[in-house]
Symmetry: none
Subunit: 503 residues, 2 copies
């Protein structure tokens, strides 16, 4: 006899298929779609989103969930119970938002994003201000629909991206982190100059592409269920059973292409490490954006910016990039990949200052959503915090508070997941280092699949079985702490800035 | 006040958006999808087909159609009335198929196609046989749902592709056609040898690609709403507002790449010539596969295999293909493009024997669907008819009955539309020649857009306004006849085989 669980599972697997079909529409839009097809593509995406939402909020889902919960017999196994918990969370969240608000948000987000593109192009915050004001107001309404008694608005929004995350916990992580990062930044920038000329060598795109493909292949990315293409902004998406990365190439930024590819490759390995049998259920989904980001940061920074990695990688680089490598060696390129230079743009930031960019946004979006900061005052506050955290002056809003797409498309509470990703990555890397008898020798020999298997076993295959906090404790034996990240940065960058040649 | 027509139109436009989303899933499957994603892709396609079918068969559609028909006031304009007629045909057809059968067919088709790929690769009909048996059985069920009293199963299926087509009418067209084509084949193959060495010159793929892109651009294909990619089997599909062609390259078959690209380009021009304002309604859809094929054949054969075209094209070939052109000229390449040589593979067949391949399939699929031929006996019957119609022995099933994708994806009743396309193409080309004061001078000057505009005005922009038979009469003044096609072939090939150098 068909159980409530079977009905629920079949119904929501179909919703997941609609989601992965929408993912193909979105992937195609960013990679291969001819430019004249944009309007119809928006209609296709809107229709799929509507169908998926209707299915997710179908009242029968509530009834099936209640039947699963009420069943006194222990008919569901542990996997099934974990899926019911995940589906319950998704259903409660989806049904808390009135469809009128969902529709209003969708329309406003589309227009606000277009206004943001214009405003950034014109370097005019005034053009964006009314849209951001409306976005903040509607997201306050959204938060009021979502929040539990006593929960703050910002916490209710942030929980969408990182289950269980709240501003209070983040402040206790971010406080000491900021102090130590500012101190590190001051120490390093007062010191020697590192030769980063390899970052600017001109290299033809086909050579760069062959190089980054060789690296992501060595990482263990499975091309029988995956691909890499080009897009203006690199991303990783799952389209059903396959996982698609994009990257980008500039003729004089090979390390940017490598970093982007390893970053998206890390996301891709997480997606490929989820259990195929659980596809379309919570156990077949990533647990949070912070954990997802930990996987990309681990491969981008703990592998790709390590001295050991470059021992293996330099001969690969020489093979694929040829004469561009003349005059450089593994040690100088390792140093070039680790230059610290406070800058204006988050997505171009180095490993040591990146989180200071995130903290600026974390402070400001809390104040916006809690009504403590008027949108009109955002630029001056932004610029003040950049002075305080990064020690630099913001010359204009295009390089300041207009640089990110996030708030224009409603992603409030999202930015801290980037820093959580960095902290989780360091703590996971330290655990892997202990358990695998030292990561360095493995990376130097190019044995990346040993690390991939460790990550798969300890993190990927669990899907949403545990909360991010539980997962961290299970994998590393400790709650999340900024110490492994700070230790990693201070020790590596201290070394780079002591041993590198000055010029 | 919103009318029944408005409701109907909005409802079925959404169904069309689901259809174009499914087209993207299918396009991606043939071009870029990693091979490990096939099972989930089958599920995605099945779900979309099911949702589209549910929407198309929604009882409200019937009520809205009845309201449109019953409305005594002349509120609908001619376009709207034409759409109502088209929607009525689609609704009546769709409501005859149970949703469960539609979903089962969609899933089986996706899997059978993958099985066919494997079977062909292994040259093993036995691996495909159980899939084909299941396909035939399900299509017999489908035909039984669709057929009118007294209509044969095969006619019911064929009507899906060519409204109004039936086996009886086809036999009266095909009978004399086969006699004259067999006689022509015997006459030409007993005669001189034409030098077709240009067909086998080795040319690197990037040069071939630049060449065929230049030709399709000159044809007037709009890349702002279109693209060309590679796939194992060339095809053309619409993905919403954009139209996508695929082609293929072999190092020593540049004329094959050119022919395939012009062929798909002809399909693409038809799709791009439909009125954008009618997108998602019957007036924005192609009228039949036979008419669609007429557009591809017209460009492939009446343009691309004409002496006038090669006057324009030869300098293009020299520019893009360079030294590969040495020792050839426009006249010898025109002759090389028109060599007649009975062969095993339909898609590689010449213009004079192509339709004999189609007639083999026409005979066999009628017998399969009508239950007169067991699937197990298909290879031997196939081989027997090849001997009779084409005068050649089939060495293995890979070159025989496993060569075509069609039956593996449920296209029974489809093959004859290729020959109808050839007949329509010749009759349309003769009409254009009369009305434009001779096609030859236009083609020799590369003024392809004059022809494209003529086709757009007389054929493309009408969508499904007329039946194929009506359209033929409107465009050419006569019902469909094999005579223009036979006249075209006999006169051109008689010339080629008389004037070409023998060796």
């Amino acid at each position: 006899m068909r159980s409530a669980y079977d009905d629920l599972s079949a119904h929501l697997r179909a919703a997941a298929l609609l989601g992965s079909t929408a993912a193909l529409l979105a992937w195609d839009q960013e990679t291969f779609m001819p430019k004249g097809a944009g309007d119809v593509r928006a209609d296709q995406l809107a229709l799929l989103a509507q169908l998926q939402h209707e299915r997710a909020t179908d009242p029968r889902v509530g009834a099936w969930l209640a039947a699963c919960d009420a069943d006194p017999r222990p008919q569901l196994d542990l996997d099934q119970r974990a899926n019911v918990v995940g589906w319950r969370r998704d259903f409660d969240r989806a049904t808390k938002l009135p469809s009128a608000l969902v529709a209003e948000l969708a329309q406003l987000e589309s227009k606000a994003q277009q206004a943001w593109v214009q405003a950034r192009h014109k370097n005019s915050f005034a053009r964006f201000q009314p849209w951001l004001e409306r976005m903040v107001a509607l997201h306050q309404q959204k938060a009021d629909c979502l929040r539990a008694p006593g929960q703050s608005r910002w916490d209710a929004l942030a929980d969408l991206y990182e289950p269980g995350m709240c501003a209070k916990d983040l402040r206790s992580l971010f406080g000491p982190l900021r102090q130590r990062l500012v101190a590190l930044r001051e120490r390093l920038t007062a010191g020697r100059l590192v030769d980063d000329s390899f970052s600017r060598v001109v290299i033809a795109e086909p050579q760069q592409e062959a190089f980054v493909r060789a690296v992501v292949t060595a990482m263990g990315f499975d091309f029988s269920c995956g691909r890499i293409d080009r897009s203006a902004h690199p991303f990783c998406t799952r389209v059903g059973a396959d996982v698609r990365l994009t990257t980008r190439f500039h003729r004089d930024r090979v390390l940017d292409a490598l970093g982007s590819t390893m970053h998206e490759g890390g996301h891709g390995l997480y997606e490929q490490g989820l259990e195929p049998a659980h596809l379309g259920t919570p156990l077949g989904e990533a647990v949070s954006l912070g954990i997802h980001e930990s996987q990309s940061r681990l491969w981008e920074n703990h592998v790709g910016r390590s001295a050991a990695f470059w021992q293996w990688c330099w001969p690969q680089a020489q093979h694929h990039l040829g004469s561009a490598c003349a005059g450089h060696d593994a040690a100088t390129v390792f140093a070039a990949a680790n230059v610290v230079r406070p800058s204006l743009i988050r997505v171009e930031a180095d490993e040591a200052t990146y989180d200071l960019h995130v903290m600026v946004r974390f402070e400001l979006e809390q104040q916006l959503i809690d009504g403590e900061l008027a949108v009109a005052n955002l630029p001056s506050e932004w610029n003040r915090l950049y002075r305080e955290f990064l020690g630099i002056e913001v010359p204009d809003d295009r390089s300041g508070c207009l640089q990110d797409v996030h708030w224009s498309c409603g992603l409030f509470g999202y930015f801290p997941t980037y820093t959580l990703g960095n902290l989780y990555a360091a703590q996971f890397a330290a655990a892997a280092d202990r358990e695998l008898g030292g990561l360095g020798p493995l990376l130097a020999r190019g044995q990346f699949t040993t690390l991939r298997e460790w990550l798969r076993r300890h993190i990927h295959r669990h899907g949403r079985r545990h909360t991010p906090a539980e997962l961290c404790r299970l994998v590393t034996g400790s709650p999340l702490s900024p110490e492994p990240f700070l230790h990693h940065l201070e020790s590596k960058l201290g070394g780079v800035y002591a041993v590198s040649s000055s010029r």
